[in-house]
């Protein structure tokens, strides 16, 4: 069943949901990266929770005029209006009161959301036809998704991506160094507003599939996941789009293959799975890599300190050092250096002297910056440069006993 869903064989509705979700995932991942870089991730949570009153009011309006209260475009327009109101309140609070941004976010989020829940309960008691379904905007509900719905999501996602492509450079500059951006004449507050507008677009478009409570996860988690894999901001954006799209696609497929599972939470769990994998296994910034690096580093430090101690005739007390030296065939069981050990020790001492020359010399600044007590000098300088340094420090010294 899952395979069928992944291969888009599970029927019209499931296929629509999968495609719409993927587009949403990609644009949420990409948009969310700029939020993440700008350190405004939780503003998206305030925006998404602020959509609820608008959805409910739009429904009431449309139903009371005799139309279909569940018309998606109408509901999304309503959500956009109240989300804009929430954003406006947030800006006003941070700018005109002494409230810090996090407190302002909490206030706006809870007040708007509470108001929305009240409206939702009112609607449920009104008995206006076919009101069931608005709760679907909380966690996402894809049952009975229409071609028109999927088009709205697809177009919204595509337009968002295009706009981001257009203003990616100003947004990156503003996220990295807003003062410099202002000095360059960039309209920083307008760019921030544009970014928030894009976030709102993604939120509104994602209300149907992922729901307002969890859209923030789809905005943030892919960006954080991508951060583990690269040190370049443009790659973070691309990888976040990939992560968002992938988790949305798989999540939508899983949800389609087991109809009782709500789509939004499954998608979020998928993106969390990707995040967990990256957290643990990413080569540079992952936890496993860090742990392995630490132990490897510890062994290298002990080995090097042991060799230097041997070279200078100092006694070695640490058990780990002695064990490593013994296992490497560098000392005998009684702690006396072997020939191999003496040779290595002499080289270690010589390298320290070479490093001292490098670090004192202005011309070798880039190489000197790489000194960490362990790095092999041959990996940083050419043989000619090393020979040049050797001329200063004289020949190698023999290690005694």
């Amino acid at each position: 069943m899952l395979i069928d869903a992944l291969l888009l064989q599970l029927g019209y509705n499931a296929t629509l949901v999968a495609i719409g979700a993927t587009l949403l995932g990609v644009s949420a991942g990409v948009t969310g990266t700029f939020l993440f870089l700008r350190k405004r991730a939780l503003v998206s949570d305030a925006i998404s929770h602020a959509t609820l009153p608008g959805v409910c009011l739009a429904f009431i309006l449309m139903a009371s005029f005799g139309g279909d209260g569940r018309n998606l475009v109408g509901l999304l327009l309503g959500s956009a209006v109240s989300a804009s109101a929430g954003l406006w309140c947030l800006n006003w609070l941070t700018r005109n009161t002494r409230l810090a941004e996090d407190a302002a976010i909490g206030s706006v989020l809870s007040v708007f959301f509470g108001f929305g829940i009240v409206l939702l309960t009112v609607i449920q008691t009104l008995g206006v036809g076919r009101q069931a379904g608005l709760e679907g905007f909380l966690l996402g509900s894809t049952a009975g998704m229409l071609w028109a719905d999927a088009m709205v999501i697809a177009v919204g996602g595509a337009v968002t991506l295009l706009l981001i492509l257009l203003i990616r450079r100003p947004m990156t500059l503003v996220a990295f160094d807003p003062e410099y951006a202002a000095a360059r004449g960039l309209p920083v507050s307008k760019i921030d507003m544009a970014m928030m507008g894009l976030v709102m677009a993604v939120t509104v478009v994602g209300l149907k599939i992922v729901g307002l409570i969890l859209i923030v996860a789809l905005l943030i988690i892919p960006a954080v996941t991508a951060r583990f894999w690269t040190e370049r901001s443009d790659y973070v954006v691309l990888l976040a789009g990939l992560a968002g799209g992938l988790s949305a696609y798989i999540g939508a497929a899983m949800s389609a293959s087991a109809p009782n599972l709500p789509t939004g939470p499954i998608i979020v769990l998928m993106s969390f799975a990707l995040f967990l994998f990256s957290l643990l296994f990413a080569p540079n910034r992952g936890v496993l890599a860090a742990v392995l690096r630490h132990f490897r580093f510890q062994r290298r430090v002990h080995l090097r300190q042991g060799l230097l101690a041997l070279a200078q005739g100092q006694p070695i007390y640490e058990k780990l050092t002695l064990r490593l030296l013994r296992n490497g065939g560098l000392v005998r069981a009684d702690g006396v250096a072997t020939d191999k050990g003496k040779a290595r020790a002499a080289k270690a001492l010589r390298d320290e002297r070479r490093w001292a020359v490098v670090r004192a010399d202005q011309a070798h600044e880039a190489a000197a910056a790489l000194y960490d007590g362990l790095r092999q000098i041959e990996s940083v300088l050419t043989q000619d440069q090393i020979t040049e340094i050797d001329r200063h420090i004289g020949g190698p010294k023999e290690v005694l006993a």
Binding site: I167, E179, A183, G185
Partner: protein, 267 residues
């Protein structure tokens, strides 16, 4: 050049407002109700290196930021090469204080310098080989060429400062404004930065630096501007960097021994 004594007895040099790289009139900036900069006039001489000095909290950085439009002034007029600021942004390069940046931001040294070319690239222009070559050239000028692909968090403070300078160089501007570029940097960086600035001056560019170290003013700069919320003095180092003006700017914060020492050094 005319030497005019202004109403409070300080020496002022009057250049035509038309050609001054940076002309400030009546600038007042405040945070809340307290003025950080009050009614300050400044005329920067072209092709020279000018230091803005004053005690901590004197409004030096604020003045620079207001001149660039980063903080909104309460009042004041700014003109850059005789025209309003917004028309001349292309000709100004700004090197901010290092502290304002997140060093865990995913960007490499070369990417930071390429940001200096964003205006030239526009929104959609492709990054071509000659852009990268120009960026590498700027990095080489500040001695950071070997660090191009390192993430910025891996650099020391002085190295980071030099990368920011390279970014400003990439713009090819005529007026350079630097906010405490020598604060907390190592000797090698200080030498690298001052030699780049002097080369800019030789090339006819104008350099304005918010400077924190009184001991190096006479070595590095042609002109000084002393500020302590109000303007205290403005002019060449010989005219405006004297024991009296320093005492007036720093008040009791400079020990008399320091002032005498400086006066001796100033000759």
């Amino acid at each position: 050049m005319l030497d005019l004594a202004s109403s409070n007895g300080q020496v002022q040099q009057d250049h035509g407002l038309d050609d001054s790289p940076l002309a400030i009139r009546g600038l007042t900036v405040s945070y809340g109700q307290k003025p950080a900069v009050f009614s300050v006039d400044m005329t920067v001489e072209p092709g020279k290196m000018t230091a803005i000095i004053g005690p901590n909290g004197a409004g030096k950085s604020t003045m620079l930021k207001a001149a660039l439009g980063i903080v909104p002034p309460v009042s004041g007029q700014i003109q850059v090469f005789g025209k309003p600021l917004d028309a001349q942004r292309v000709r100004i390069a700004y090197v901010p204080q290092r502290a304002s940046v997140d060093w865990d931001f995913p960007t490499r040294v070369i990417d930071v310098v390429l940001m200096g070319l964003y205006r030239e690239l526009g929104l959609l222009g492709r990054l071509r080989g000659h852009h990268k070559a120009a960026a590498m050239d700027c990095l080489d000028r500040v001695g950071m060429g070997d660090f191009a692909t390192r993430q910025i968090g891996q650099l020391s403070g002085g190295q980071q400062q030099r990368v920011f300078l390279a970014r400003a160089l990439a713009q090819g501007a005529d007026l350079y404004l630097l906010d405490e570029p020598f604060a907390g940097v190592d000797a090698a960086t200080e030498k690298a930065i001052i030699s780049v600035l002097k080369a800019l001056r030789e090339a006819g560019k104008t350099v304005v630096v918010v400077h924190h170290d009184l001991a190096t003013v006479t070595d590095y700069f042609d002109n000084v501007f002393l500020i302590n919320t109000n303007k205290v003095a403005e002019g060449t180092v010989a005219e405006a960097f004297t024991a009296e003006t320093l005492q007036a700017a720093y008040g009791g914060r400079l020990a008399t021994a320091q002032v005498d020492q400086l006066a001796l050094a100033l000759g």
